[in-house]
């Protein structure tokens, strides 16, 4: 069988691609679209480094076939900023709280955080911890990320009220 044609929206832009049945969404994002912000970690659903959002929900791009993403809207870490010179509140808060050390888990961690806030703009600390339970970080000890997400939530809520 020849390659399969798919249409996917990545960060608001539609792409038409011909993919192999076994190509993962992660392969396509990194190798074909050059969006290397999304990381390959364990490749088996344990670490969360490859987390991206499809239709607002966090999913693992290493365990999603590109063909399964056909017709869907995908958001990656590259699509968070509204303007090149302005970070998303989650990114700002991660920087402020030093929730980034080696940085490898950060894109997945931020996309998982984005899904938490899209689902609940005012999450409890417990909800944030549970929401990030699939994202491993070997540097920080998680406390900084949790603080960053809670602060970003406050900032986003405040901005929406203004």
């Amino acid at each position: 069988m020849a390659k399969i044609n798919i249409n996917i929206s990545v960060n608001g832009r539609w792409y038409q691609l011909a993919v192999e049945p076994y190509e993962t969404l992660l392969d396509v994002l990194r190798n074909r679209l050059g969006l290397t912000g999304t990381k390959m970690g364990c490749g088996s659903g344990e670490c969360g480094a490859c987390t991206v959002n499809i239709n607002g929900r966090a999913i693992l791009s290493c365990l999603t076939l590109a063909v399964q993403a056909d017709g869907k809207e995908i958001q990656t870490i590259e699509g968070l900023q509204k303007r090149p010179d302005e970070l998303h509140p989650l990114q700002e808060a991660f920087v402020k709280h030093a929730a980034v050390q080696c940085g490898y888990c950060t894109p997945g961690m931020i996309m998982a955080s984005k899904a938490i806030l899209d689902h609940d703009p005012n999450p409890s600390e417990d909800a944030v911890r549970k929401g990030l339970s699939g994202n491993l970080c070997r540097c920080t000890g998680y406390d900084r990320q949790v603080k960053a997400v809670l602060e970003a939530a406050r900032i986003i809520r405040k901005a929406q009220h203004e």
Partner: protein, 292 residues
Amino acid sequence: MTAFFRPSEYHLPNNLSEAAQLLSNFGKKAKLIAGGTDLLVTKPPEVECLVDVANLNLNYIRKDDDGIKIGAATTVDVIESSEILSSGPYVVLSEAAGVMATPAVRNMATIGGNICNASPAADLSLALMVLDSTAKVAGQGESRILPISDIFEDVNKTTLKEDELLVEIHIPLITRTTGASFIKLRHHQTSVDIAIVNVAARLTCSKDHCEDVRIALGAVAKKPVYAKKAEKFLIGKRLDAELIQKSAETAAGESKPINDVRASAGYRKKMVPILVKRALEDCVRRCGTWQK
């Protein structure tokens, strides 16, 4: 055949007969794909054809006079947060869904995949077993209905024929005083850790007597199993702490765990009675008839 997972075909059938036809045509070289969270981890090299269930309209949870029906392609996060499964003994299923793997995996993995992967430690399977659920299986011929536990044959092996696929789960309505509980013991190194031992129980009481009970054990045999002797021990008797303790010990005697990377057989065997006891106590509490 290569040594790598390199399927050359991908199909997205629009109805069940098309899907069954594809499975039949490709036989062992075909594999169903739903969430992909098991298939893309194991990546079996013999697979040449992927059959995606996404267009079969199997993503639903419905309740009617007959019971609760869950489409096989319903994702675990939907089960976790389902209003229908948020009260009564049905919570055993949403609770099991809530502690399965990680949020992102739950957003992808399906109930049908969790059952058909036939892991001895499958969380949802145990919950469905104690609710006396049945599974509707479709193939090229007539579809058939079988008890959930009859799907499991061995480790990662089901009794489904090559052309068959799981379509729907049916949970019968429970009208009498019933409590159910799910308990999972695992390492917390990562939250995808599968169970060292997991237990589901369901208890139907009249006053303080046990009318009917189901106890299912995971990760202690080649497939999820009922602790039948422990169940029999409880039926018709007045529930008290001693009875529950003895039943839990009976369940341990029925388990046949192995040593593996997560725990030793001996440790598992010691944990079974503790988890069964806690699950049964939970059931009794939820029945609201706990007698000290």
